[in-house]
Symmetry: C2
Subunit: 712 residues, 2 copies
């Protein structure tokens, strides 16, 4: 990690002392001409070096024929030249000692051609080789409102420079970052610290920029529009840093669908990981995923107040009965609860609302509050003081300025998050608008669902932060894990892992497996059966008989010496009858597990996030309903609990149709151990599928009955 | 139905020749004073009669002491008096021959008191008795932009009267209808025909007002905010009328949650039906349900163009690559598809976009379109002409007026629905805004998800209308239904329906059931067993032994004369041993059905929608996952198919794990027959639960194994 509490390594990229532009021109209808015009209009005060083969002057500034000719090593160079000239220019930049380069030129990975991919690989290699860090290619630069530096063609920064705010924007896309997020937030009155549109990310990628904003004191919330997560482990690190700083990251992550992934591929060359895995990873890391770009700033508006709810209980008040119903219904639908106000709160509100028959939640003012000074302030403070309330939501429709402003004033005095829902407008002062409220730092929403989605996101972030700070979220390696033993067994497998060997490796990780052994003769089979819990199954062991059932060379539910003897003989006879020249290695005697609730626990190695553990109920739950929970490995015991709880069929674990509750603790232990197996052995395994795991009644454990590891 | 193609019976309520206001006052801080002021400001040209006990003049108009004193029978009377005076005033109105009354006064069902409920019941009774129709109580009147008549306190109509549009608004709530929907739509530039806030609906309810707007030529789309559906059958009739007229109804139906239902109860006294049933019924009737009030006008904006998509294929174009990715991903996520453009379309676009490497969908213009006149118009027409495209979605960010206006012009020339997504603003004319587009009748959206949700709603409505017009949606009574026989069996039950009697009633509806009969002796049992398919089950039949398994008085999987004889004896002996004085009526011999896929088919009589049929897979699918599909009975064969398809576990019907596909046709026939049973016998049954229904391989049918009818 290249981070320090003082100055992040990217600071000179965002606020260079000097900036050179290769391809500079006076012609503002051309890309480079537009970048230069916008930069100067935006008020950049550093040294500007236009670079163009024809030299002369550009915008009255002396122009240089090459970066190599510059009088000093520039902090930052912008490059607008045809794709085939990009590499020579980058070599020039490195030779002249430039620290950062932004490559605007397209025609690389997004082109989908071998030539394009080779070009991008060459850029990445140059950055690695020289240490000069590169943004782009195929990007549209950045905007820094804090230090008045902008290098982009975007018309969104035309006109007087807007005041900086404390929200950062990171995007690969130009339009998506600049128009959908930055400009739209500003239109709503929300200030931006930095915006970056980093394109294909041959070298510097969104994680570098997120990290910069998390480290930067000017930024409180980071809004991200991502077409791709470049590196799962790095994301985890950046997210941890953000959690330590209590700086939320809100993200639109594209690629929910195949069609979307293909579109991203042809836009910035982004390669998609599994979206269900990505979704789980973002939640695990406390990154708030939203669906559309407007939700980025809508959510950030509430998050930046840095008041973290302790739970999901809303305290509401409304000047409109109909809106009280809408708020209640949509809130409950999104998982919030509406606790009754405490007796003390009800009394405090009744003091100022004597006409009101009852004080419900949301409290519906109807006409009771009309024209009475101080009522809204009093009620917001009463509600915020209620120990049953985690978030305050006041609703206005067509309201006088003083009613709304009282609420805004009260919002500053309370210590709980408050989201103001203002459906209508001010009916006694047309100049008092939503922007007037925003300007005072109070989150204000136009639509109920948007308001409640932001509230829910903030509640979830509060819960994440609480778990993060408590340490409950930190995975702990369980006792009795024999990594060396497991690796030895993997080495011994020579690329052919059987069910037995897979279960041996599980056993090395302390995971209960059904017992079994190979018997050479009937007497041995009897000894083994006596040794392991009965009943047992007997199966022929022969490389020539892969399908034992078809051959009739399998007997189930066998108990007692005599029955074992008979089963041994029958299985052996059947095998010889099926294939007279079959090589027989013996008869496998396996413990038959008692019936239990069937689950599936799996591991995959995701190309972006690394080892990922999955759990679900067996059979149709996994195969048809895809009812699975995922986490990046390793996971904590609390994570494992949360995984089981988030299954749609979670109720099955509580025991249905008179069954006893299942041993959830034992299941969690299994999930945790499997996750460590994935973490430790991710270089040696591609997949692990334990199916079924049988879960018994609480206190009676769980056992892996069947397992198969697939090597890479 | 009180509807005619000419003038709906409610027209004088909305546009009375004369209006009297009881409680009229000059004091505009009071409710009635505000109503009067707004009405006069709004430009009402009819005769106004202020009514107040103190008479004199109000606003310069002669005031009458009582409605009885009016010089003519008024078309419409508004009533603003304390709750206890409402009934006497209504008696006066009826006596004077008023046609319509609006009661603003609250304190009725919404108060939750016996007194309030009695008061509301009295209002309803008076309306029934006199034929005078009443809106309210506890309401905030109506606004008629078509005829310039408004009777409400709402500040949303202050200032110059807005031009009428073709969207109607029906709400129970004042704020929800007037601010959230009407005013907000108008702020966006969308014109409104009528708005009504009908409150508790003692007599006239939302369905009357929806019907009025469906019948009225001024209205093309009806937007509804409903706290309650007053009458399911009436809703179906109004919805059918709307479908015939191709006038979509868009609805926010509150009461998704318990908390929301309780809130509605205390707001307008609304009583909730089951939300899953309501949701299914709305879909069945082609009513478009949305979540929040802003979605009402966002959806109506596209619907009112009355271009119905034939499918779910979007043709997109974007000036921003990032926005093309967002659009594609969210579109696919919502179920739309992105077909490749036809060769002809690609050629047509390539004519004007020679620089573009490839023409994808969405086509990403990048810089290829910059400054070229006519390109957007040409491309919209090319895309709309593509036979693979059902809906056109062009995306703009920061764009010149001419680019957007070309698209708007093209939208008028094509015959497919077009939704313009404009994330940014006009960069060469600040006066050219979203409202400029709206004013030209072209639907324009600010956010991708909102745009795509409206597109999806319009696609679904198109599919609904196509099915409606084809007649495939119309339920057909199947052959071989013996309603008289079924009723006779119900009559014979005398309130005690057994499994056997329930199955007899199913059989009368042509539903295959497992066969069974009662045997008095072993010889009879053998005869029965030979007669019906074996194996059979034998169970003691005794009113004194309800739990046969506990008594050991049941034998399963019995085949052959000898075994039947033995089972008969064993069951009889076990019964006598269990309870020596038990009354034994014989031994029931039942066909044991071959194993098949287990489903559940049920019927309930919903308090609002009447008989509702449900289907789901058996076991955990119903009990834990609540994976059920509902429809109001009776249903068509196509409905039954759709029900099975919408199950999350629908894939099970295709055959998983090597099982053959199930007999879906037979299952649909069962669902249809059960639905007719519900339709015909809804007065005689409260519930029917067939569980399990066993579905066999395609062509091999399905059978009801266990069934129980519960009488009301």
């Amino acid at each position: 990690m290249n981070a320090s509490a003082q100055t992040h390594f990217l600071k000179p990229l965002f606020a260079p002392r000097s900036f050179a532009l290769v391809g500079a021109t006076d012609d503002t209808s051309r890309f480079a001409g537009k970048v230069l015009m916008r930069m100067l209009d935006f008020g950049y005060k550093g040294t500007v070096y236009p670079v163009h083969p024809r030299a002369g002057t550009v915008r009255g500034l002396p122009c240089y024929a090459s970066v190599r000719d510059l009088p000093e090593a520039p902090d930052h160079v912008g490059v607008v030249v045809p794709a085939q000239h990009v590499m020579p220019v980058l070599e020039d930049c490195a030779a002249r000692g430039a620290r950062f380069v932004t490559v605007y030129t397209g025609g690389f990975n997004e082109a989908g051609s071998d030539e394009g991919r080779a070009g991008q690989a060459a850029i990445a290699a140059l950055a690695r080789r020289t240490g000069m860090r590169i943004m782009g290619p195929n990007c549209n630069g950045l905007v820094n409102f804090v230090d008045a530096f902008a290098i982009t063609t975007s018309a969104t920064i035309a006109g007087p420079r807007r005041a900086p705010g404390d929200r950062g924007v990171v995007a690969q896309s130009g339009g998506g970052g600049q128009v959908n997020t930055m400009w739209r937030a500003q239109q709503f009155g929300l200030g931006i610290s930095y915006e970056v549109s980093c394109g294909n990310s041959a070298d510097l990628n969104i994680l570098d920029f997120i990290e910069f904003m998390v480290e930067d004191p000017a930024t409180r919330v980071v809004m991200v529009l991502a077409e791709q997560i470049p590196d799962g482990r790095r994301l985890a690190e950046v997210a941890r840093l953000a959690a330590e700083r209590e700086k939320p990251i809100v993200m639109v992550k594209l690629g929910r669908t195949e069609a979307g992934s293909r579109a991203a591929q042809s836009h910035t060359g982004a390669v998609a990981a599994s979206d269900v895995v990505c979704d789980a990873a973002l939640r695990q890391y406390g990154i708030i995923r939203v669906d559309d770009t407007n939700e980025l700033y809508e959510t950030a508006m509430l998050l930046r107040t840095r008041r973290w709810p302790r739970g999901t209980r809303i305290g509401g008040m409304s000047v409109s009965g109909g809106n009280a119903v809408i708020l209640t219904d949509l809130g409950a639908h999104l998982g919030a609860s509406w606790p009754a106000y405490s007796a003390r709160t009800q009394e405090r509100m009744a003091e100022v609302l004597p006409k009101l028959a009852s004080v419900g939640n949301p409290v519906d003012f109807t006409n009771a509050a009309l024209g009475k000074p101080g009522i809204f302030q009093h009620c917001v403070e009463a509600i915020a003081g209620d120990e049953n309330v985690d978030v305050v939501v006041p609703v206005f429709t067509m309201s006088p300025q003083s009613d709304v402003q009282q609420t805004v004033d009260a919002a500053a005095r309370i210590d709980k998050p408050l989201a103001l829902l203002w459906i209508g407008a001010c009916n006694d002062n047309p100049d008092y608008t939503l922007q007037s409220v925003v300007a005072q730092g109070v989150p204000v929403y136009r639509n109920t669902l948007a308001c409640l989605r932001a509230v829910r996101a903030t509640m979830r972030y509060g819960a994440f932060l609480a778990a993060f700070k408590s340490g409950a979220a930190a995975p702990q390696r369980p006792a009795s894990i024999d990594v060396v033993g497991a690796r030895a067994k993997l080495d011994a497998s020579r690329g052919k892992l059987t069910e037995r060997l897979s279960k041996d490796i599980l056993a090395a990780y302390g995971i209960p497996v059904t017992r079994e052994a190979l018997a050479a003769d009937a007497a041995a089979a009897q000894r083994i059966a006596r040794d392991i819990a009965q009943p047992v199954a007997l199966k022929i062991e022969s490389p020539d008989i892969p399908h034992k059932t078809e051959a009739g060379a399998i007997r189930l539910h066998v108990s007692g010496d005599e029955a074992v003897q008979r089963a041994f003989d029958e299985v052996s006879t059947a095998a010889r009858r099926f294939k007279s020249d079959a090589r027989i290695e013996g008869v496998r005697v396996q413990q038959m597990a008692a019936p239990g609730l069937e689950l599936m626990i799996g591991l995959t190695i995701d190309s972006v996030f690394g080892p990922v553990v999955a759990v679900g109920l067996g059979g149709v739950h996994v195969e048809v309903l895809r009812d699975l929970a995922f986490r990046v490995a390793p996971v904590s015991h609390a994570d494992a609990h949360a995984m089981l709880r988030e299954l749609r069929a979670a109720k099955m674990l509580d025991g249905v149709r008179g069954a006893a509750p299942r041993d959830v603790e034992a299941l969690c232990d299994l999930v945790v151990r499997v996750s460590w197996l994935g973490h430790d052995l991710r270089d040696r395994i591609a997949e692990l599928d334990i199916n079924p795991v049988l879960a018994y009644a609480a206190g009676e454990g769980a056992v892996a009955v069947d397992a198969l590891i697939v090597e890479p």
